[in-house]
Amino acid sequence: MMNARTVLTAAVGVLAAAVLAGCASTSNHATLVSLAALDTPTPVLPRSPGEPTVRCNDPTASLRPGAQLPVPGAMPAGSFMRTIERRGSLIAGVDQNTLLFAYLNPFTGGIQGFEIDLLRQIAKAIFGDPGRIEFKAITTAERLPYVQEGRVDIVADAMTVNCYRIRKVDFSTVYYDAGQRLLVPRNSHAHGIADLAGKRVCVTKTGTAKKYLDAYAAEHRRRHPIPDAVSQRTDCLVALQLGEVAAIASDDAILLGFAKQDPYTKIVGPRFTNEPYGMAISKRHPDFVRFVNGVLAGVRADGVWTSLYRKWLGSVAPTRSPPHARYRD
């Protein structure tokens, strides 16, 4: 009996030791922590709401300039131009990705293009020096708020003057008449939207082209193109080159830059919308709007507009005359 008890005691002791040893085991804590960290999702940004469609009479009519522009370097006291002059440079909000109009030259690191040269004309009229200008790269969504909040003096960024936007900001007279057209591969037989029924057509998510195509689809229920919306303009060229879409619908000004980057594409069909481009200025500075209109009237009259057009767009688009300025007073 004594023996049995000893054995039992020993057994309990060894078993307890074994269980204790088993407790000093492993854990998958590190795995769980690392997997949780690696699973960190990319935050979803709130999508900017599209612009509502509103009606008005001729939004392109702007403020009439004074009879004479002030002398460069001597802006009238109390004017917004004087404020800019004292600051030392004009601050302009621009895009950096639209070839020919406003784009970064990767070799010089500077921004250049048709819109950039027009803005330099305004700096020249204020300071007598076209170099006194600071370019701020902004996104499409930032254009209106940046002007409204005064973070930039002026925006020139392929911006269509429309009835909604003139409620938020003032626009200069029209400096470029753009319109929506189609870009297709060179071997495509499409000549217009009607030829693209059932095909995918690339548009930007918030652009005018998407609105147009959606309206077209509602009207032609049976035969219409399928809009393929991307977030940035240049993504459309990628989609076309990869064969994901049959065409791009966008402003011809932007399509010119695309065609320049890919010689195996062509712009086809008539314009299906008019997109008059104006420079956006805060509603607090009507004097600056009149001043800019004066500068634009000058470049239209003295041939600078035409020579800038030839410099940037002459090789890709037919020559044309500057758009007529329209004034509301």
Binding site: V14, L15, G22, V33, L35, L38, T42, N97, A137, E142
Partner: protein, 455 residues
């Protein structure tokens, strides 16, 4: 006709029932006969002793085999595979970050960046080859590997198109880069993540079977059973024969005890080593790899935001998310907190502290770049990021290099401890069957010495 087989079946059943009954009766008769006499009881005891020794030998061998297989799998298969999956994930993340940085300077790409990108692709391909060979038994891992294999050539094609356009100064180059990065982040990296998760789970499983207390219990219980039979036999023999010691049985008891002690000691040494392989080796490898991947993700975000020239809000937000997941540079919270704790556990706190101070400087540089970016001064921001007197890129390289070194030394620690765990179980595969047989034979020898005295 249909009834015939059933009648037959019933007859056969009845016959076999009678057979069973009679054999059971015979068995009881046999048992009764044996229990009636001392030599009979001794024979029964011998049978019991042999059986318990056999059970002990087989069960303990099985327990040792389970542990040996698990330890071998951890050391030679699952952990190295996890390391490979981690490496693949890191190579792909590094390719993404490096490609984006390469394009920041426009058409003029840096030779070292280009080489680093190509190296990343090369190591990703070779890691993928290794993993393809080894993941056969998991459909999830197999699907992940085939996703990566299918998408990687498309990714590198998009990068080369971006490069060709960039060399001509075309803005569409940046769009191709964005497309490539989207593909990497939306499809390739998540597949690498799934692969990593599968391998990590497998490693966890192997660690568990390598240290399971069930195997301990098996050794102890079957050992006790055999011990009880041996001791009980000796008590009975002593009482019946009035001899104090039965030498073979005493030697058998000692051998049995020694074998149990040896096995348990080996198990607990293996367990200690395996636990330390995890705590000081594979745990830091996992945490530091996750740190490296998130650091690279933030680095890629920074470059992609700069390449987007103001259109990169998405990347700015993602940089913030990756930075948040890493935690503050003082190493008190989240992933860095975990890594900091592991560093002090593995006596590598100095290396990690240096990493943290570099990270703090990197984040300070990032804040200056973000400020320039917010002001629309992309040229200055890019110069600060990757220019000739850049502040940020060298710091990012330093972070990457430091993490690489720390991961390598953690893997080294793992290999050492895993080696110890494997060698702890070294002699058991031969020792257990041999000695358990010896225990059984010694016991039988002792009993048969007595049985022979009754003839």
């Amino acid at each position: 006709v249909g009834r015939q087989p059933r009648t037959d079946g019933a007859t056969i059943d009845a016959v076999s029932e009678i057979a069973v009954q009679s054999s059971e009766q015979q068995r009881f008769v046999w048992l009764r006969e044996h229990l009636a006499t001392t030599p009979g009881r001794l024979r029964l005891l011998a049978l019991l002793l042999a059986t318990t020794a056999l059970i002990f030998g087989v069960a303990t061998t099985a327990a040792a085999t389970v542990r040996r297989n698990a330890t071998n799998a951890v050391a030679a298969q699952t952990e190295p595979l996890l390391f490979e999956a981690d490496g693949l994930y890191a190579s792909l993340s590094d390719a993404d970050a490096t490609a984006a940085t390469t394009f920041l300077r426009g058409g003029i790409e840096s030779g070292t960046r280009r080489r680093r990108y190509l190296n990343d692709l090369r190591s990703a391909t070779s890691q993928l080859t290794t993993l393809t060979r080894q993941v056969r038994n998991s459909p999830v891992a197999e699907a992940a590997v085939s996703t990566i294999s299918a998408r990687l050539p498309i990714y590198s094609g998009l990068i080369e198109t971006a490069r060709a356009n960039n060399r001509q100064g075309f803005p569409v180059g940046a769009a191709y880069l964005r497309q490539a990065s989207d593909l990497m982040r939306a499809e390739i990296l998540p597949a690498a993540d799934r692969l990593y998760a599968v391998e990590a789970q497998r490693l966890t499983g192997d660690y568990r079977s390598g240290v399971g207390s069930g195997t301990f219990a098996v050794v102890v219980l079957t050992g006790l059973l055999a011990l009880a039979a041996l001791i009980g036999g000796q008590v009975y023999v002593t009482r019946r024969t009035h001899r104090l010691l039965n030498v073979p049985m005493v030697v058998g008891t000692v051998v049995l005890l020694a074998l149990v002690v040896w096995t348990l000691a080996a198990f607990s040494q293996e367990q200690d080593s395996l636990s330390s392989a995890q705590r000081k080796g594979s745990d830091p490898v996992e945490i530091l790899s996750a740190t490296r991947i998130l650091t690279l993700r933030a680095e890629g975000d920074e470059s992609l935001a700069l390449v987007a020239h103001g259109g990169g809000d998405q990347f700015v937000a993602d940089f913030a998310a990756a930075t948040h997941a890493l935690g503050p540079a003082d190493g008190t919270q989240r992933l860095l907190g975990e890594a900091s704790m592991l560093a002090s556990r593995t006596h590598s706190a100095a290396a990690f502290a240096e990493f943290r101070s570099t990270l703090a400087r990197y984040r300070a540089a990032h804040r200056r770049i973000a400020a320039l970016e917010a002001a629309g001064r992309f040229g200055d921001a890019i110069n600060l990021a990757v220019g000739s007197r850049a502040k940020e890129a060298p710091l990012a390289d330093e972070l990457n290099k430091s993490l690489g070194t720390q991961i390598a030394s953690a893997q080294h620690r793992f290999a050492g401890a895993a080696e110890n765990a494997t060698s702890a179980l070294g002699g058991l595969w031969l020792g257990i069957p041999l000695l358990a047989t010896a225990v059984g034979l010694l016991g039988l020898l002792g009993l048969f010495q007595r049985i022979s005295e009754y003839r």
